[in-house]
Amino acid sequence: MLLRYLLLAAVALVVVFPIYITVVNAFLNPGEIAHRPPYLWPRRFDFGAFGTAWSRGHLGRYLLNSLIVTTVIVAAQVATSVAAAYAFAFLRFPFRRTLFVVFLATMMIPFEITFFTNEQTIVHLGWYDSYLALTVPFLATGFGAFLVRQAFLSLPSALSDAASLDGAGHWRFATRVAIPLARPAIAALAVFSFFAAFNQYLWPLIVTKDERLRTVQIGLRYLRTSAVDQVNVTFAGTVLAILPLLVLLIVFQKQLVRGLTAGAVKG
């Protein structure tokens, strides 16, 4: 029994140590961080480094940008996915299957393949250095449409039959029956999208130069390079960048897990 706890604790220590020491170092001053042997716990609770990262490191501004961009992307992805999924699950129209395959095909072309041609498109559109550049390419997702469609299809067909016999319109069927019943899948999509959008790195790096448009992830890049004699500020900034997701992770763990495992083999 004790052995089991020791084993668990040892593994937990390895996993959490980098995050723990980041928090500790955010409370130390640069001289203390360089001290040998290293201090493994805070000597006092001085929030100065957090203040510096927030104001002079502009972390406040970057977090706001990340939040704006992420909220727009999540809201749009949920909307476009639910709409497309509804069409694929409940409506008949020519080329429905072909179009669905087109949606699936988008998953075979990850953004890492198209990033620089997309950057050229953004420049041509005159969107370089704008929120449009940061959001528009991600307003739809084949993965999301697929996930919600599967949820719609798993609803008992008696429901839709009853609705159509009833003469209830699509709007009523969608908003009163289909969408509420597919809520777990939609929530999984939303949380998954949030994490993916918030953590984006390559794209914001290449389509923005303006400091006022920086997202947190890109902000960290500059915090890393500019603060060699202020390591504590770098650590504090990192803690600030983790906090939003940490809160979300604790609150929405179930949804995130569902989103992450959605593609795994059934069963």
Binding site: R92, T114, S164, A241
Partner: protein, 318 residues
């Protein structure tokens, strides 16, 4: 995190024969349904057209044109010569070799540690929920967060890991050609521990407890149980994680940009970073296009492998 296209496609193949959609009576009703259907998928289609299919086609096209050495000169049509020239270049082959090594350094260790953590957390013990939360905590980190943390911990002057590794006063591991790729891989593995743990826990949750217990009563030791019961039962999830993880590692970029910039001596010049470097530093979009197409082919092959195996279903009946 990346989407999980391959297996979704497999699922989709299963469900093409779906239940009948809502039917409206009469021709006018059907026409209106069709219009509504197009209207509902149109927004997504526009985005895909502009930011997935068009740039992809443009990649294929740019790959056939040689970028002039000086801006302003016309591009020269080179058909597939440029593909051949670049795909045979030592630089590309080196980058592929490095990327494959990176995949090997990240995927198997990540899966192994994920299983280990999942098995440990799969016990009925008081307070186990706390450990589960701790094990999944790296899910709250991003590539950038993990990279900045380890970049600073490996700092030659103030880095804590520098000290513990006995390298005080020596250059950062990230600047050692022998260690840089391994160090970057280790950071990547750490950042993905949470994900790996979650996936393997989900897989383990589907294994009937009697099976694990039966093995215990049989007196099988931990390692034997691990090898002969846990790993086979988890094989569908391991396979899924291996394919998704490989695709993700083939697409790694952020950790390279933040930790090593492809160096030292190109020791960490992964494929996507090489593409980025080609277009934004060398101004050679023709080359970048060829590298992108190569990455697409690799992703496609991995996906096809997954589909092929899924067809045969690696599941063990329960």
């Amino acid at each position: 995190m990346s989407t999980t296209g391959a297996s979704l496609a497999a699922d989709a193949a299963d469900t093409v024969t779906e239940q009948p959609p809502v039917r409206r009576r009469g021709r006018r009703g059907r026409a209106r349904d069709a219009l509504l259907g197009y209207a509902l998928i149109a927004p997504a289609l526009v985005v895909f057209g502009a930011f997935v299919f068009y740039p992809f086609a443009r990649n294929l096209y740019l790959g056939m044109y040689r970028t002039p050495p000086f801006p302003g000169l016309p591009k020269r049509y080179a058909a597939f010569d440029q593909y051949e020239r670049i795909l045979r270049s030592p630089e590309f082959l080196g980058s592929i070799r490095t990327t494959v090594l990176f995949v090997l350094y990240t995927v198997p260790p990540g899966i192994f540690l994920g299983i280990l953590m999942a098995v440990l957390a799969h016990q009925r013990l008081r307070g186990i929920a706390i450990f589960r939360t701790l094990f999944s905590s790296t899910l709250a980190t991003s590539t950038a967060v993990a990279s900045v943390i380890f970049f600073t911990l490996l700092n030659p002057q103030v880095g804590l890991l520098t000290h513990y590794l006995g390298r005080d006063g020596k250059p950062s591991l990230l600047q050692e050609p022998r260690w840089a790729l391994i160090a970057v891989a280790a950071v990547t593995v750490w950042q993905n521990l949470g994900l790996s743990f979650i996936l393997m826990s989900a897989g383990l949750g589907a294994v009937p407890d009697e099976l694990l217990e039966a093995a215990e009563i049989d007196g099988a030791g931990f390692w034997r149980r691990f090898r002969h019961v846990v790993v086979p039962m988890l094989s569908p999830m391991i396979f899924f994680a291996a394919v998704v993880g490989s695709i993700q590692s083939f697409q790694a970029f952020g950790q390279i940009d933040l930790l090593t910039q492809g160096g030292p001596l190109r020791a960490t010049n992964l494929l996507v970073y090489a593409t980025y470097d080609a277009v934004f530093r060398q101004n050679n979009e023709g080359k970048a296009a060829v590298l992108s197409v190569a990455l697409f082919v690799i992703t496609l092959l991995l996906t096809l492998v997954q589909l092929k195996v899924l067809e045969r279903r690696v599941t063990y009946e329960r």
